[in-house]
Symmetry: C2
Subunit: 346 residues, 2 copies
């Protein structure tokens, strides 16, 4: 029953068959300039015809180039991350790299463990979004000291300088809040994300700054801090918002899940969105277009963020000129997408 494992054809086999040396085969296969066109054709034809495949492991072993990059994301079944990763994979594939993906599940322990694995695997670079639990950055600093190219996205280290791709969360939040003010809101609530994470602090600050700059009062009971901006937490916040007196006339949420929850609860209570309460979310998740009324939100450029991260990383891997760069920070433009939830009749 047991079939004999067919041993794969190697470069040596080809060499023997063609009466050439292994080195010539190797060079012909990688289009080396010192090999004649005739020989190259000979080799590639033979390779094709005999079903030869280059052993990538042996090749990596010898050349020290694995053509692989590691990704650590908190999880991949979240719209934002799956889009970033899609962008990374796209760009990487076009550049001849492949991606190895791990989920930290927002655990510090996992993050450290994965980092170890990835280094053993000799990836040529890494793209990382920090786990929420991560407060100690020693493992990351140590990693960077090894000179392995690393790029962080979205949730990035704050206590030291490194390569990052982010959006301007402060400004985006400012714009979102300003938009509410401009359509006439005077009493604006914010549903905030976990304050141990920089981007959510920045969004809160942006909200505050907008109020301040328009001389609107800042009320503590207008800020609702959640743990993970989940749909569930959004529902609870919405209930609490309804108890506020007077009822706010605008809500800026740090993501679209919570914003959608608020819309839903207000709809149920027959409170008109946007006339009575206008709502702005963050991230432009698919639901933003689908819910009724459709949701004004911030396009957070997830796919582009992935592409930019991959591009930056691969430049650092390949380009000599980048050796001189200590670290690089790219901030992507965001865009306020105005939809029904903040469009009041004139």
């Amino acid at each position: 029953m047991k079939e004999k494992k067919t041993t794969p054809i190697t470069i040596k086999d080809l060499a023997k068959e063609l009466n050439l040396s292994p080195s010539t085969i190797s060079r012909a296969l990688s289009d080396h300039p010192k090999i004649s066109q005739a020989t190259k054709k000979l080799v590639s034809d033979k390779a094709e015809q005999s079903g030869f495949r280059l052993n990538a492991i042996a090749s990596s072993f010898r050349s020290k180039k694995t053509k692989s990059i590691g990704i650590i994301a908190p999880r991949i079944d979240i719209d934002f991350h799956s889009r970033v990763i899609s962008g990374i994979e796209d760009y990487a594939y076009k550049s001849g790299y492949h991606v190895i993906i791990f989920q930290s599940k927002d655990s510090y322990k996992m993050e450290k463990e994965i980092l170890q694995n990835l280094q053993n695997m000799m990836v040529e670079g890494m793209i990382i979004c920090l786990a929420m639990e991560t407060k100690n950055f020693d493992h990351l600093k140590k990693l960077i000291k090894t000179k392995l190219p690393v790029v962080f996205y979205d949730r990035t280290p704050e206590t030291f300088d490194t390569n990052k791709i982010t959006i301007n969360d402060f400004e985006s939040a400012f714009n979102a809040t300003e938009h509410l003010i401009k359509i006439g809101c005077k009493n604006i609530v914010h549903i905030a994300g976990n304050q141990s994470t920089g981007i959510f602090r920045a969004r809160l600050e942006g909200y505050k700054a907008a109020l301040k700059s328009y001389h609107l009062p800042l009320r503590d009971d207008h800020i609702f801090v959640t743990h993970s901006l989940s749909y569930q937490e959004g529902l609870t916040c919405a209930e609490k918002i309804l108890e506020l007196n007077p009822l706010p006339d605008g809500v800026f949420c740090a993501n679209d899940y919570t914003a959608a929850s608020v819309v839903k609860v207000l709809n149920k209570r027959k409170i008109n969105v946007p006339e009575q309460v206008a709502i702005v979310g963050f991230s432009d998740y698919p639901i933003a277009q689908i819910i009724e009324p459709s949701l004004t939100t911030i396009n957070d450029r997830a796919v582009q963020m992935g592409e930019a991260a991959a591009k930056m990383l691969i430049q650092h891997i390949q380009d000599q000129d980048f050796d001189i760069i200590d670290h690089q920070v790219i901030t992507l433009k965001t865009e306020l997408i105005v939809r029904e939830s903040s469009t009041r009749k004139a």
Copy 2:
């Protein structure tokens, strides 16, 4: 400016320092029974203290075990796939494997190309969801002939037998339709997926079978076949449904995006869901809970599908007993989740 590249510590270095042979170090590190506890401790302490890391590439090269599995999905920024992949990664990680991910973008050409790459990389197994374009299965048959363990999920080959994990699309669709019938619908429309794909054909058949088994007439103009079940296509279908005379009293959609579109359009036209038209979707995407009214749908077990695929694959990789198995098919139970869009007042 250029820092000297610190050469990594190898097994040989450890051997020299401890006056042991490389083979002993290797065995100690992998907990070989023939090495004494004392030596193991010595070695692992020294390894720890000196920052040694085992070169996984060299190890793979020699042992022919890469501990990696390849995934080919149409895309990863779609809820269903990102959840499946999350399930795969989870299970694989626990079992000591890592995953390399590629997106075929539903292109046949890409699929073939990726397959080549993956084989060169010497992954120990592959998990594949077919590209929509793929009609010719030669590349896959050839792959399977190499004895490399492969598991397909969701969109699986139909012209030959192989390892698969699917749900019972026919039965799920039957149940969904039956549910509509049982709440009193007599005039049910189906929004179908691309009919070149087996699972969408099966869903259509399930719909038809349910009508038949309840002696309801089957009308051609009640079936709307879409290209990719997108939100946009859902909107167009919904408009066409409104032109039907009489207006249908139930809609079964092959996914939640189109279902959400229909809900949205009907809401806009002030047609009451579920009283006038009841709606059932498929897949239990996050939006299903968020839209108003919330959507009755089929839980398609995406995460479990990923876990099951990884489990099956890893068994085939590791377990001698599986050599005797030619192919294996697992069909997961689905679940009808009844929500507001099909709950009529008694």
